[in-house]
């Protein structure tokens, strides 16, 4: 007897009552856990301290902080718990993927633009990634429904020219003219959201959907087709977000992130989908969006005041999702859809740099927490985003306050840690300090989600090992847990600093990287982490001198801080990352059995990076050299610029710049001046003609060298693309 057709989920028919029930159960669990821990803590503070039987103001502050922080930790735990429950039942019926049969080649599609905003990225990675997506879509036979747009805000002249050249080369190689487009903005107003908005204003109305990708995103053709089919099937879905898996990490840090992201995320995401349902979030990329509705409802206003808190909304994605939901369209998370990838930062410091940007953006969302008309779920998403960063200074404050409190007790000669639970087992009486019970509960909240992630994968790993087999998977999870415990206080210090600096309206300075052959930079690590090390040492030594027993409670936090410099170097090492891979540690499915799109990307990028680099003297301004000297690249570049007739004063300014460029060489011009010349087609045509017309004596040595060296060793100019 043939299998009956599985019952399909229809998002429009999702009962509000069912969603409310789920949310009630979910948030009540968080509330109960927090209440339990809060009770323990209050009892502990009540019975201890300088005034047993009542609580001092400092103890009240400690209690409030503890409750807020525990609720935050418990939220993660409950996500994992409910996700585990859902996955164990064979998956949630109320998930967007159930809206279509697993394979439905005849499901309708609609015109879709795949847009990739880029800004000073590695052109090889951007265009090879695009090639992989293009080819993958071609192989589905559905390419005709998709157009591709590289939306460039690149300001680095070298990368700008590389992009133009790589675009043409890619189009030639895949036959993509008329399907792959390149647009460079003259001014990068409003960064990424402005870039996408500019695309929408120009071409948005041509497409029913657009898929936003990041410069390092990869999506397989199957996943893109499937997402558009799902959108077509569910006309009230405004945004469909996929879950990008982290890939291509080589350093130990990146491999740890990839492994953790892949192994643990399944339970968290299933839990997230359990309560959010059609009021999900948008993560800014690897998502398909209903164009007309996005244009109508999700254009963002400025916030009151100026940056850092006001002005342009930096983390636009969360707000766009909230506005889409407010407009009556749903936002779903396709958490079980394969074929969506992105890259993560390679080191602790790179990760912190990214967090610095996100922190400011998320803190801005505090404005919107009480905005009228937003749905409750959207407010929870905004709050969770804010807490992702605000929790760090609160943790730090909590730990410092606890230290002061304990030292205070010590100075006043009060006995501390009086709360005890006595229980009997097998005829023996055990005394358990109440602090230990509380500590244990917190550890459960922190580490059980990881255990659940491993358990979900356990059975599958026995059949088809993609994490290196059960033993290696568990070993990797244990090491990952230890290393992430050491990393937690470092991130706490970084985030606390970011929050404070953002509130004070200050920028954070970063050290320029000077990596050695193995990718290590001790100077950068020392200058970035010395404050954390010093803070950890002072905190640790003073606590150890005054109260050694409390020192051991603090030791996991202190260890991370004191070891931050070597840890940063150790985690950022590609060599150690490679070693762990050879030992079969931190393996994950996309690494042990990569889809062919990722294999193809690796192969092509290997070829790209093997290209001969320009000679040292010309390297810094090679893009400008090509745009002026190479007749084809000059013509291509000029053709891509808007033709205009500048005013007389502007023409005089350009004339002076052009003369300086030819006579003195590009080193004497600022980056801004070079960009100005590159934006002026008249100047570029003039420069090309004059460079080839003038005798050597009238040209800077740099240009003479460029003319003689260009294309001497290769028949074709070096491009960012694999051939």
């Amino acid at each position: 007897m043939p299998n009956p057709t599985p019952k399909l989920f229809v998002t429009e028919r999702l009962e509000r009552r069912r969603v409310i029930k789920r949310r009630f159960v979910f948030f009540t669990t968080i509330f109960l856990l927090t209440s339990l821990a809060g009770w323990f803590m209050a009892d502990l503070l009540w019975n201890s301290g300088t005034h047993p039987g009542r609580m001092s103001p400092i103890e009240w502050v400690v209690l409030v902080l503890f409750v807020v922080l525990f609720a935050h930790v418990a939220t993660g735990f409950v996500h994992a718990l409910f996700g585990f429950y859902v996955l164990n039942r064979g998956g949630d019926f109320c998930r967007i993927q159930r809206a279509l049969p697993p394979e439905d080649p005849h499901a309708p599609l609609a015109p879709t633009a795949v847009v990739m905003p880029v800004c000073n990225e590695d052109s090889s990675r951007v265009f090879e990634g695009l090639r992989v997506i293009y080819r993958s879509l071609e192989e589905t036979g559905k390419l005709g429904n998709f157009d591709f747009f590289i939306l460039s805000d690149t300001s680095d002249p070298n990368k700008w020219i590389q992009e133009e050249l790589a675009w043409v080369e890619l189009c030639k190689q895949v036959g993509g003219f008329g399907r792959i487009f390149y647009r460079k903005r003259r001014q990068g107003i409003n960064k990424k959201s402005g870039n996408v908005a500019d695309f929408l204003r120009r071409w948005g109305s041509r497409y029913r959907y657009f898929a936003v990708l990041d410069a390092d995103s990869i999506m397989t053709g199957r996943s893109l087709v499937r997402m558009v089919q799902l959108m077509e099937r569910n006309p009230t879905v405004g945004i469909l977000q996929s879950v990008p898996r982290l890939i291509r990490g080589e350093t130990l840090f990146a491999r740890l992130q990839q492994f953790a992201n892949r192994l643990y995320s399944s339970v968290f995401l299933a839990g997230l989908n359990y309560w959010q349902q059609g009021e999900g979030n948008f993560w800014g990329h690897n998502a398909v969006i209903r164009t007309a509705q996005f244009m109508e409802h999700c254009s963002l206003p400025d916030l009151p005041g100026t940056e850092p808190f006001g002005g342009r909304i930096l983390s636009h994605d969360f707000v766009e999702a909230a506005l889409m939901v407010r407009a009556g369209y749903s936002v779903w998370l396709a958490y079980d859809l394969d074929g969506s990838f992105e890259e993560g930062p390679p080191s602790v410091i790179d990760s912190a740099k990214r967090d610095r940007r996100w922190c400011q953006g998320n803190l801005q969302h505090s404005w919107l927490l009480f905005a009228r008309g937003l749905r409750g779920a959207s407010r929870v998403h905004l709050l969770m985003g804010i807490m992702g960063y605000v929790a760090s200074p609160l943790w730090l404050f909590f730990l410092l306050l606890s230290t002061i409190h304990v030292l205070d007790q010590d100075l006043s000669g009060t006995e501390h840690s009086v709360g005890e639970i006595i229980f009997e087992r097998w005829g023996f009486y055990f005394e358990l300090p109440q602090t230990l019970a509380l500590f244990g509960l917190t550890l459960v909240m922190l580490f059980v989600p990881k255990v659940l992630g491993v358990l979900v994968q356990w059975r599958e790993e026995g059949r088809r090992p993609v994490y290196g087999g059960r033993l290696r998977m568990v070993l990797s999870a244990v090491i990952e847990t230890l290393l992430s415990s050491l990393l937690a206080p470092i991130n706490m210090m970084f985030h606390a600093k970011f929050v404070v600096f953002t509130l004070l309206g200050q920028g954070v300075g970063w050290v320029t990287q000077r990596r050695d052959a193995e990718g290590n930079d001790w100077r950068e690590a020392i200058l970035t982490h010395w404050g954390q090390t010093a803070f950890g040492l002072i905190w640790g030594i003073s606590t150890y001198i005054r109260l050694p027993s409390f020192f051991w409670w603090l030791s996991p936090v202190l260890a991370g801080l004191v070891l931050s410099i070597p840890l940063s170097i150790f985690l950022g090492s590609s060599k150690i990352g490679g070693l762990t891979r050879r030992w079969g540690l931190f393996l994950f499915p996309e690494e042990s059995a990569p889809p062919y799109e990722l294999r193809r990307l690796e192969k092509n990028l290997d070829e790209c990076y093997r290209h001969m680099r320009p000679i040292e003297e010309l390297r810094d301004d090679y893009g400008l050299l090509q745009a002026v000297l190479d007749p084809y690249i000059n013509a291509l570049h000029v053709s891509l610029q808007r033709q205009r007739r500048p005013a007389a004063a502007t023409r005089a300014y350009f004339l002076g710049l052009r003369e300086r460029l030819l006579k003195d060489g590009p080193k004497r011009l600022s980056a801004r001046e070079k960009r100005a010349l590159l934006l002026d087609p008249e100047s570029m045509t003039w420069l090309h003609r004059e460079l080839w017309r003038r005798p050597q004596t009238e040209l800077a040595e740099w240009w003479q060298l460029g003319v003689r060296q260009y294309n001497v060793l290769t028949a074709q100019p070096v491009t960012a693309l694999y051939r």
């Binding site: 204003r201 905005a371 004070l504 017309r693």
Partner: protein
Amino acid sequence: MSGFQPRTGTLDQWNAAYMRVEDYLRAHRIHNRLHQSRVIERVLECAAHRHEANPGLDPVMLAAEEMDRLMQTWFASQLGEGALSAERRAAQARVAMLLSDLPTRWPYTFLDQENTPSEARVAMEKSALQAGPDLAVSNMVPREIDLGTLPEAAGDTLERLERWPIIRLLLLWAVFAAVMAALFFKTR
């Protein structure tokens, strides 16, 4: 090149002119030595004639100008005169050459008006650059967000504070002083 005997200018000057034309052809991906030599000879002959009439001019400059003239004529013959300026036409023709891979597929064609195969011409004519589809301009008006009473009031205060940076500084000092005072009393 044995027939090239300039009557004016030094050999060094003509050597420099030769190198400049050779470099320029190489920049156009014309790597075929025979074709290179033919073109260079033609260009230098024309430049040498002009130099005889005006020996004060630099042979490099004259050769570059002759090269440019030769190219303009060839571009016009391939893509038609049209209404474009010479510079725009040159840019368009070079892009067409790049897209059609002309230097690789028809290595002897460049600047050879008589012997340009029709396929090469067709390939160039068809090769047009399209950086974006036709515009379909539409509006995207920012949606109002009613922030609620409390944030609106906070926003107004913030905007007022931004106009008076001195107040902001004083507030910062006040917070710092309050923390110091709290620590002082706590440690008594």
